[in-house]
């Protein structure tokens, strides 16, 4: 037939406008306030970490795509950029750049590409990178600096949670004030210190429905309840829930890392269990564990449960008999 032939494709022929790169770019935009805050507080050290993590992550991804003969498109979908950014944000300001690069390579290679790349990984890649670094170089990963805005000329500096755990800050009355935690004028990983910047971005993510609000809600709820019980029972020994929420990596973890769609459950019951699990484990580690902070471990730990949760709580098919329990 001489006339034109049209496209053959399966229905539906309409598609929503949202796309993977758009989602990823939204997250990147949401992270910008916190990135800016970290550059403000840690200056060149922050910039160095960002650049090395981003470059190393992108290069590692590119090499893997090349080896596996996959289209390079996923280099530009933004997911690697988020991994790089988030990894950098969870590193201490003193970390030497070659370690940051090792972490980035591990994050993308072991955390993501060995599983098959975007969408296939089980664990949060940035946190795999961070956990690797934390375990491989524990000294380097726990050496802190005060932000440039604090006129303390210390070579090292304890983070608010470190203070709480190892210096008995509550008893000594040296607990970092909430106000300082809120603005970020304190020590810690470069991207985690400024609560306000993180919350600003989180607001964007929640209003744009990029993240599932139940995850941060569940985490905050569980942590508040857990630390609250102890705080009420012994305010002279335990820090308040507000402190626990604002200190350390909780906010960045709850809003930006636990919400990673690839590594969190899909259905609402499973999501609640996942989120509550993270919150409780953070509380356990911070109050009773060997580490000052447990966000990273909690998220990775609950990541291992996600496949099971997704299977156990699959939604009821319309017309399926209700499970009688």
């Amino acid at each position: 037939m001489s006339e034109k032939a049209f496209i053959i494709q399966s229905s539906p022929h309409f598609q929503d406008k949202d796309s993977v790169p758009k989602i990823m770019i939204t997250v990147i935009i949401a992270l910008l306030p916190a990135v800016a805050a970290s550059v403000y507080f840690f200056r060149l050290r922050a910039i160095g970490l960002y650049i090395s993590c981003l470059v190393a992550c992108l290069l590692t991804e590119a090499i893997f795509l090349w080896i596996r003969k996959k289209p390079f498109q996923s280099l530009w979908d933004g997911s690697v950029v988020i991994t790089g950014l988030l990894l950098a944000m969870t590193l201490p300001p003193t970390l030497s750049l070659e370690l940051a690069i090792i972490g980035s390579v591990v994050a993308v290679a072991i955390g993501k590409q060995v599983f098959g790349g975007l969408g296939h990984n089980i664990f949060n890649p940035a946190l795999v990178g961070r956990a690797f670094l934390q375990t491989a170089f524990p000294v380097a990963m726990t050496t802190w600096l005060p932000p440039v805005t604090l006129a303390v000329d210390a070579v090292t500096y304890a983070t608010p949670l470190g203070n709480l755990k190892f210096q008995e800050a509550v008893v000594q009355g040296t607990l970092t004030p909430i106000r300082q935690l809120f603005w970020g004028n304190t020590g810690g990983c470069i991207g985690e210190t400024s609560a306000i910047a993180l919350l600003l971005g989180a607001l964007l993510l929640i209003t744009k429905k990029t993240i599932d609000w139940r995850i941060p809600a569940g985490i905050l709820l569980a942590l508040t309840a857990f630390t609250g019980v102890f705080w009420i029972a012994g305010p002279d020994k335990y820090a308040s829930p507000a402190f626990h929420i604002l200190a350390g990596g909780l906010l960045i973890g709850a809003f930006y890392m636990a919400t990673d769609m690839v590594t969190s459950p899909i259905y609402s019951k499973a999501i609640w269990i996942y989120a509550l699990g993270i919150g409780i484990m953070v509380g356990l580690v911070r109050l009773f564990g060997g580490f000052p902070e447990g966000v990273m471990y909690s998220i990775l730990f609950m990541n291992t449960f996600v496949p099971l949760l997704n299977r156990t709580f699959k939604p009821r098919i319309l017309g399926e008999r209700r499970r009688t329990s």
Partner: protein
Amino acid sequence: MKTKTFPHGIHPPEGKESTVEKKLEFLPPPEKVVIPMHQHFGNPAEPLVKKGEEVFLGQKIGEATSLFSASVHASVSGKVLSVDGHNHPLGKPVLSVTLANDGEDRVYPEWEETEHPFEFDPDQIRKKVKDAGVVGLGGAAFPTAVKITPPKDKPIDTVIINGCECEPILTADYRLMMEYPDEILKGAELVRIATGADRTLVGIEDNKKKAFDLLHQRAASYSAEVFLVKTKYPQGAEKNLIYALLGREVPRGGLPFDVGVVVQNVGTAKAVWDAVKTGKTLYERALTVSGDGVKEPKNLIARIGTPFQAVTDCCGGIGEDVNLVIMGGPMMGLSQWNLDVPVIKGTSGILAWSSPKPTTEFSCIRCGRCVEHCPMGLVPTQLMKYVKYEQLPEAENWGALDCVECGSCQYSCPAKIPLVHWIRLGKNQIMSQKRKKSA
């Protein structure tokens, strides 16, 4: 009045503005019609005519071969040019009767008009409907005579008339409701009598308020109640509509029968009325011609067998840059590779679009939107993966066969994965394996 609805689903742009006020026009019968013997769910009909024979308008030219089949009728009067395979909107060539229109529309003499159709008993109604070759005009083209013959052990209490027209763009059902409200309600009454149900419900989406008002006002004279349902896709899918109106859930793998319901499209109701009242066979149907590639979007009543080319020609032709032609709505319609296919009983619309950009596909990021929107409560991403990685038994476990292919999942997928195509692939493979096993 509160609108009723079902959980999940999506709300794509409606796109009905360009045709919603366009009255149904009768499309002039073309020179030549091509009438496939297979236009319905079930087995193809057997041709009754040979090359060279003369036929009347509405004369039966294809005989239903089994219970699950429907007869086919001439949509023009004239001469049989050939009985041969011809391109078909469903993709594969189908045995079709090509008629040369003599332009006289000589009506088949055996049609009989009835004075008091409401006094018919169910069997009489069914016989009329069957003779007229009526099939569901809402999508699946299920032979209506079968549908209104409920199994003995499954009493029907409710007939639902589906006036949702939830597909974007399409407005033909709306025009039918606006222009033939009484025929529809009377047809519904006949269906109610045939099925022995107690009541008739009509569901209309709240973006068709005028149709609701009109039917609501007329319904008083028949035992029908009219309800507004929320404008949401796929409100018109029968299982969801039943849930919205009655709160009943059709069991997995079951049919509306199983919860005492029969669902009929408004067009089908009208066709039932016509068949019983006048004996008119199903040789024409209402459809919407629209899309940005169509010069003059219209609502038409077209003869079955009219080539798409003739339909679009009558709407000013299609644009130069059109590269996608769909039979049906944008959510569930079938893409056509050329216009050399005929209008069939299931053609609810013909849409032509210019270059929708081919979208780049990403890997599933498990965002869960497909799950959130699936009206059947399925996990499309999981189904897709099971099919892709060839775990068909798992796919079946997870409900692949329950998918109604509504496309809500794929519509909302940010990774642009052809979820529906995968699931259809899985359904077909599962079914063909089952067939092999039972054979």
